[in-house]
Symmetry: C2
Subunit: 301 residues, 2 copies
């Protein structure tokens, strides 16, 4: 079963305590698609500019990612420049150029409209709603968002939340959206806004999954070096959706395992700049680290 993602395809310029990189492939849809591509076919809806290099297009193609929905427009590609602190949980946005993303209206190719697994990456909630309007049959829709949309487009975001099954956010976004500082109460408040499942990403501390009937908590895979945290959350969602689509098991057990696969993919992502580590990865590497993850967390056997 194939997966559709709408989100940004971008240039990222990044400084971390370990080094820096200029205009490398970034954006929520890029990370998500790369992460999901190990498990199932992925289709991207997004926009790039005339400056977007063939090299990155080829990279997507080599990973079997469908680019029919990736529109190229005159103008420059969305560009984000950020700097991470010594504490990698904190980053500053230095520059943000929307470029072709400004005014973009997603338009799904006919072949995309039967998508069953849909991930609405972190973009304007109005764009997320537009994608939902164009899709015929849905099995699982999840969305991500950020403080900017919570603060400035709450009404549209609340409409998105009424239409999706799963929200994927980090802990500060969950607190901001709910107005609750305790993370359990924050998740319970968000569940009342519509989604059946709330996933809370806590970076190096792992993930919490909430539904009306259960909570699942899983630590992150401990790493001796985190090189570049960019894209961890989006590739986590990609790995999660990838495993869900591959297994076809949307029940609690399938979802929990998918969260672990997402965590595994994210743990690879942060080991190098941008998508470098994902480029060199195989599904065998992922399965091997999944087994290590089992050994890392098991206390029953």
């Amino acid at each position: 079963m194939s997966i559709l993602v709408v989100g940004t395809v971008a240039f990222d310029s990044i400084e971390t305590p370990s080094g820096s990189a200029e205009r490398i492939l970034g954006g929520s849809a890029s990370y998500f698609a790369m992460g999901a591509s190990f498990f199932a076919p992925v289709r991207i809806v997004g926009v790039i500019g005339r400056d977007f290099p063939d090299e990155y297009i080829d990279l997507f193609r080599r990973r079997g990612i469908d680019l029919e929905g990736l529109k190229r427009e005159s103008g420059d590609t969305f560009h984000w420049r950020g700097r991470y602190h010594e504490d990698l949980n904190v980053r500053d946005t230095i520059e943000l150029h929307l470029n072709v993303l400004s005014g973009f209206v997603p338009e799904l190719p006919e072949s995309y409209r039967d998508a069953e697994y849909v991930f609405l990456g972190n973009i304007d909630p109005e764009m997320q709603l537009e994608v939902l309007r164009q899709i015929r049959c849905l099995r699982l829709v999840a969305c991500d968002t950020m403080d900017h949309w919570i603060n400035n487009s709450l009404e549209a975001l609340r409409r998105v939340l009424g239409k999706i099954e799963m929200l994927v956010v980090n802990d500060s976004e969950a607190r901001l959206l709910s107005g609750e500082s305790n993370i359990v109460r924050a998740a319970r408040a968000i569940l009342k806004m519509g989604p059946k499942t709330v996933l809370i990403k806590r970076g190096e501390y792992g993930v919490l999954q909430f539904s009306d009937s259960s909570i699942f908590a899983v630590p992150a895979y401990p790493l001796e070096e985190v090189f570049d945290p960019t894209g961890a959350g989006d590739s986590f969602a990609g790995g999660l959706f990838g495993h869900l689509a591959r297994s076809g098991d949307p029940a609690e057990r399938g979802l929990r395992r998918a969260i672990v696969y997402g965590s595994v993919v994210a743990s690879f992502t942060v080991e190098d700049f941008g998508v470098e580590r994902l480029k060199a990865l195989s599904i065998e590497d992922i399965e091997e680290r999944y087994r290590r993850f089992v050994a890392l967390t098991d206390f029953q056997t």
Copy 2:
């Protein structure tokens, strides 16, 4: 098999966003002993002043805690006053009165000297060494410490580390002691200082356990309200040691389960001021939450 703990028995005066309490029972040995007492006999080595009320003595006795090693001296009991921020991970010490603790030299009753499970609570490393000198046969010795001793008594602390099996610290203490900001590298560096096992407490984010051959990661039990975080770490260590002594299983599997039991005890501790919640607790409550912990973390079955 019985457990020996050396540490503080104190008055705590606490302000949290949820309320405040004056001169309630506190101290590392108190929390540890209360936490361990559900699983195995506990003996306390420590000192109190003439102002220490019978009510607290009775409380220890009701929990079957052996107080032969708890010395009463003329003068006042150790008193700590602290205030927690809205972010409960941050607290300020407002007052600290060592009182009878100043100049205290631990002296173990003859009946304590065959102790097999020994926990050196967070006190002066010289006192920790003195306790080790007085013990005949050891099975498992663990210790806790804090930034004050790392900064001011490093030489003595390093001697302690050379004699113990397990160090139990929080993440900032591990970073300070090792000089490494990455927590995995910090733990590896500490393992080289002597202990076979390093446990890193991360508050609401759970615990990491490192040895030469493995890593175990477990989240904390998610709570809708954290009332007072005081004593979470010490009662965690108490529950951990309690289960180890009860099960007699010091192998990796036993240790992992003990860490989960410790996490369960700590999750109860923070639900009310001081030891209030532990006073009202039964081993059945602990076993019930342990089962919930399994359900919280399991993704394999």
